[in-house]
């Protein structure tokens, strides 16, 4: 049965895609062999669909159908458009690393400013020697596809003890319509380091494109790190991002993500707390309208004792949009004194808006404190009336309450400039609504 499914249209299209892209894919012969293996694994599975439990609410076969051909290497015109997008989306003071249609754009990036605290290479350079970056423990089809097709990415290593004064912002820009970009990055953060990494996904006039990104993050002991993902892709784009994050001991890690674009998106985060005494905070916001489908799927794996994890997720869903939150907390047998909680709230702005929440606790230790909560509802009429009675028109009253609703998650961003940037993004989304 599975074989039959894999041989339908979707599977064959990818096969053609891989064959035609092979000449563009960087790597040593060993890397090319690993890619082929990953591609075969993808071809066996095909695009994920609703009968695969992890993808139950996000049936890519139904929502996306086929994977588009690889985007061309950006030409001068594309880079010019990308430069405009960089200006519009750069965070003030941040050091930028720019990927255009899945290819590192040196002229748009400030990689020299990264030294000496952070080492930088492209994925392309790294794969000349080492196939390791293409390997993950995952058996997920979209991650296998990413390993097969990744054209480039950012390989960052933050030195032990480095105290980064400004965020590093990786900007993914799409300029090519009806094409795919595959990127894979690694961020290794040293012991005792303090760093803020931002990843931004935007379009430069591109339409109907697909993004498949993977990022592998390791955070050393005694570090203090924030990772912020801001996805504001074109309204008809597809964005699938996979994060693999391993956290050392006595470390503080704040993850934040906001989705305010793309027709179909999924952020899947796999976070392993591998060192004792660490604190993980994960906050997410989905802002969805029209027929957008936004999925946030998080797995927090408490592999060792004495860690704290907090997940706060807020979804604002208008029109016929569909928001998915799947949160799993795993507590391994040794992970005593784990404190893990998640809370998800959905705000439904229309009768046809849909929210699916699937919290899961898998607890194998007996001395832990874990919990989850979920709510879904409309804006409170009594609050709306109060604001209107004070002179706020309906849409403005709604906007104020929506800002307050998502504010609880956004407040968790410590950096003032960055928080203002994210608030600005949410405000622009609200303005587009009214």
């Amino acid at each position: 049965m599975n074989v039959a499914v894999a041989k339908t249209g979707g599977g064959r299209a990818v096969s053609d895609l891989f064959a035609s892209a092979e000449g563009r894919l960087p790597g040593s012969p060993e890397v090319i062999a690993a890619r082929r293996e990953a591609f075969e694994s993808y071809e066996r599975l095909g695009l994920p669909h609703r009968r695969i439990e992890e993808w139950k609410y996000t049936d890519l076969r139904a929502l996306v159908g086929e994977v588009l051909p690889l985007a061309a290497i950006p030409d001068a015109g594309a880079l010019k458009r990308a430069a405009e997008a960089v200006k519009a989306h750069a965070i003030e003071g941040a050091r930028k690393v720019v990927l255009v249609d899945g290819v590192f754009a040196a002229d748009l990036s400030d990689v020299r400013a990264l030294a000496p605290e952070a080492g930088f290479k492209t994925l392309r350079e790294t794969l000349e020697k080492d196939a390791g970056l293409l390997k993950t423990a995952s058996t997920d089809a979209v991650i296998a596809l990413n390993a097969a097709m990744a054209t480039d990415g950012v390989v960052l290593s933050i030195a032990d003890g480095a105290q980064l004064s400004a965020p590093i912002q990786i900007i993914h820009i799409a300029t090519a319509a009806s094409a795919s970009a595959f990127t894979r990055s690694r961020v290794a953060i040293g012991k005792g380091a303090r760093a803020t990494i931002v990843e931004t996904f935007v379009a430069a006039e591109a339409k109907a494109y697909q993004v498949n990104d993977a990022v592998i993050v390791s955070v050393g002991d005694n570090a203090d790190v924030a990772h912020i993902r801001l996805m504001d892709d074109a309204p008809d784009a597809v964005n699938i991002t996979s994060q693999f994050i391993t956290v050392g001991a006595n470390t503080k890690l704040n993850l934040f993500s906001m989705t305010s674009g793309a027709a179909v998106s999924r952020l899947q985060g796999f976070i392993t707390l591998a060192g004792e005494g660490s604190e993980l905070s994960v906050n997410g916001v989905n802002l969805l309208k029209k027929t957008e489908h936004g999925d946030t799927t998080l797995v927090v794996d408490h592999a060792v004792p004495n860690c704290v994890s907090r997940e706060t997720f807020r979804a604002v869903i208008d029109d016929r949009a569909h928001s998915v939150f799947q949160g799993r907390i795993i507590v391994r047998p040794d992970a005593q004194k784990t404190d893990g909680k998640m809370m998800t709230r959905a705000l439904l702005l229309s009768d046809e808006a849909e929210a699916d929440n699937k919290p899961e606790l898998e607890i194998f230790a007996d001395d832990v404190s874990c919990g989850h909560g979920a709510t879904a509802g409309a804006l409170d009429d009594s609050l709306l009336f109060y604001l209107k009675a004070r002179g706020l028109p309906e849409k403005q009253a709604q906007a104020l309450l929506i800002q307050a609703f998502v504010g609880e998650a956004i407040e968790q961003i410590a950096d003032d400039g960055l928080r203002e940037h994210v608030i600005g993004m949410a405000e622009r989304w609200l303005e587009r609504r009214s």
Binding site: L387, R390, P393, E394
Partner: protein, 250 residues
């Protein structure tokens, strides 16, 4: 004297049940009217219908404000025209800082009237002045709207808004409920400071006590969805002595 608010033969239903059965009331410019009556007489319904709260069906009659049909307007349009309802139970709005709320509301009203927005320094100066006179500490203004405020603080926050927005009609819905005598005095002093020949007030209350502090020009007694008696301020004292029972008889 010019009529500011004219309620004419107003009939209102809530979920198929008629609450107001043909209520008529005229408030002239600069007058303070008290509306008294037992629980369930329709006092709060009247205040909600004037402010435009959803859930009320007006089946007959009209409400004119400065000669314009109020029932045709959205609640925010009514506010911009100068209607202000001080809520009996002001809601808490977590995540919306009071200062931000005040500025957003004031500027929305000004924008609707085609006036320029307040500059930040002018706005802050004004809020500081008014909040000081109402004994509202500055840190309260940084908190979410009414979040963690005491009953007295919530009512003072309503009076603060009244002072900032400068409405021409203030409807005070049971302002005395849940307030001790000191809190009531502060709130009432704030209201009295806003009395002016250009501003009218409708003070809705169950008890005469509030009217010792906010002395009305006219007192109306409501019962069973109608105004059944009107008179001067002495009518309130009569009611205090005799109760509402005389009006309750069918």
């Amino acid at each position: 004297m010019m009529a500011l608010l004219e309620v004419k033969d107003l009939k209102v239903r809530v979920e198929e049940r008629e609450i107001l059965h043909g209520l008529t009331l005229t408030v002239n410019e600069g007058e303070v009217h008290a509306i008294m009556g037992p629980n369930g007489s329709g006092k709060s319904t009247l205040s909600h219908v004037i402010a435009g709260k959803p859930g009320y069906e007006v089946t007959d009659g009209q409400i004119l404000f400065k000669g314009e049909d109020l029932l045709e307007m959205e609640p925010d349009e009514r506010a911009a025209k100068g209607v202000f309802l001080a809520f009996q139970y002001p809601v808490e709005i977590p995540g919306v800082a009071t200062m931000n709320f005040l500025r957003t509301a004031l500027n929305a009203q000004r924008k609707a009237r085609g006036e320029s927005e307040y500059s930040t320094p002018d706005f802050l100066k004004k809020v500081r002045e008014v909040s000081k006179s109402l004994n509202i500490p500055q840190d309260m203004l940084k908190r979410g709207v009414n979040v963690g405020f005491s009953g007295g603080e919530k009512k003072r926050n309503e009076v603060l808004q009244m002072a900032l927005f400068e409405p021409s009609l203030c409807i005070l819905d049971e302002m005395d409920s849940g307030l001790d005598i000191d809190a009531l005095r502060i709130a009432a002093d704030g209201v009295n400071a806003l009395r002016s020949p250009k501003r009218s007030m409708v003070v809705i209350t169950h008890y005469q006590r509030l009217l010792n502090y906010i002395v009305p020009d006219v007192v109306h007694v409501m019962s069973r969805g109608r105004v059944v008696k009107s008179g001067g301020k002495e009518l309130a004292l009569e009611l205090e002595a005799s109760g509402y029972a005389q009006f309750e008889a069918a």
